[in-house]
Point group: C2
Chain length 301, copies 2
């Protein structure tokens, strides 16, 4: 069944997709009978707790451009969200950020315990590849392999995990704007790239369209991160749903500390505009992606 | 290039394969330039440190039965070893077993730090799927997808991670022999299954041969685990290369505490014999797999 977002506002489409992704995650993470159910409980606690579902939204929208079937797109959307949620669980652990609060609820290791949270993260990461590799995701195994390879590459030491490592060591290095940009591209950008390119992979779209989506993701993702830094400085915990002001407290260089609030905001707006221009070759089906680029720089949480 | 083990003893073949797998892991885990190099350093520290390489050995031997190319088999062997090493890194963390020693060297979080060890484990797990999904692993993407799916299923909440969860909760449950058997099959058995079936998957071998290898792995893996419990009771840390007597100290039910040393040893021997009988349909190319079943119950470390 194809997707249809005609006449939906961005917030309506976000809500609709968040609901569909929740249902898919619920379906993909059934609770088993044995004592191992505790780890699946923890996986479900962290994966089904809401959030903006921005990465799944990007998968669904990039798939919509090419009329990819909803069932295929939803599986990829669920897989990327599993990877995102695993990274949050591990990021929140005492040896990392030691966070108690995530999306306004106790973090996984506070709700369960450290060892369960560690295993739940491991199992979510593992499950994402199981989902992508399964026949239900796409009839062509070459497409499934490409999804697995791209997601693994985006998530591993050359992508998200590498970015987390750089982030942990950032205090030891003189981080200038190019260094922070590279850090953020690894830490959060690569998963955005994957999400935006996923539709093109599922549709076996030509290289040029794939590249356009990658360029869009690149600029939109960076705008998103600068906006995140702005929220960290300006937001309050009740609205943002997590602890704020942490980067400043940790003395970490951010886009804001390097550029100042005004120049950072201008940079985010410029990147959002640039992201939108990368979509020029797409018709009105890309309108919600265009709206997304504006949304990420204007959001309040 | 095909493999050839004619006239090699088990220990010669183990050594040869361990060397080849080390070279493959070295090749698959190049050190990058940026500050993220630290996590790759830690991945290499834990993945290249030796060990018996039993799982890679099983992949190579099951591939040998079907004349699978050495380069394909080596990539799968390296992938399974990455998963094994990730599980050891996370298992050793303070919130899990809190081990200082692994294979006679400091554990990853003692050599680096907890956050680096956490990320190194995550990245090794991720990399294993990247390796399997890449074209170099097999020309047929359907085969690569099957490898990804099987490894993910064996490693996740229904397999290894689920088994670790059960193990953590074992003190809360009345663990009898069937419960311990299930625990061990999840925690270590599934990866042995994958290793032994990998050759059949790579060769697209018929179901019957695949099932024979699965049955072999099942019995051999359980024999291996009982022998491990025996070593934990009888071995000393210098020979075994890790802390011993831990299960007894933790008051955990094991095959030994439930069956006694003598019955446990008889059970392991019986399982090894049974494992060998599952290989009856294979010719002398399966001789090293037969020898392996004997080896795992007689090893001293």
């Amino acid at each position: 069944m194809p997707q249809n977002y005609t006449n939906l506002s961005l917030s309506e489409a976000l809500a609709q997709i968040a609901e569909a992704v929740n249902a898919e995650l619920d379906h993909l993470l059934p609770l088993p009978d044995g004592p191992e159910s505790r780890v699946v409980d923890a996986m479900r606690y962290s994966a089904l707790d809401g959030g903006k579902r921005l990465r799944p939204f990007l998968v669904m929208q990039s798939s919509y451009l090419f009329n990819v079937s909803k069932s295929s797109a939803l599986r990829v959307a669920a897989a990327i969200e599993m990877v995102h949620c695993y990274s949050l669980i591990h990021d929140d652990l005492p040896c990392m950020d030691n966070d108690d609060l995530r999306r306004g609820r106790p973090t996984c290791h506070r709700q369960f315990d450290e060892e369960t949270a560690l295993l739940a993260g491991d199992a979510l990461l593992t499950k994402s590849f199981e989902v992508l590799a399964a026949e239900a995701t796409h009839s062509d195994p070459a497409v499934r392999c490409e999804l697995v390879w791209e997601l693994a590459h985006a998530s591993g030491s050359a992508g998200m995990v590498g970015g987390q490592m750089v982030d942990l060591r950032a205090a030891q290095f003189a981080m200038d704007v190019p260094a922070i940009t590279r850090l953020q591209q690894m830490k959060t950008g690569r998963l955005f790239d994957f999400s935006c390119v996923a539709g093109a992979i599922l549709a076996k779209a030509p290289h040029q369209q794939r590249q356009a989506l990658k360029n869009y993701a690149h600029d939109m993702g960076l705008a998103f991160q600068i906006a995140d830094d702005l929220l960290d400085v300006e937001g309050d915990a009740a609205t943002v749903g997590k602890q704020t002001g942490k980067d400043a407290d940790a003395g970490k260089a951010t886009f804001i500390s390097l550029l100042g609030v005004e120049r950072a905001r201008a940079q985010a707006d410029m990147l959002a505009e640039q992201a939108i221009r990368h979509l020029d070759s797409f018709d009105e089906k890309a309108d919600l992606l265009r709206a997304t680029a504006k949304f990420v720089v204007n959001r309040r949480s």
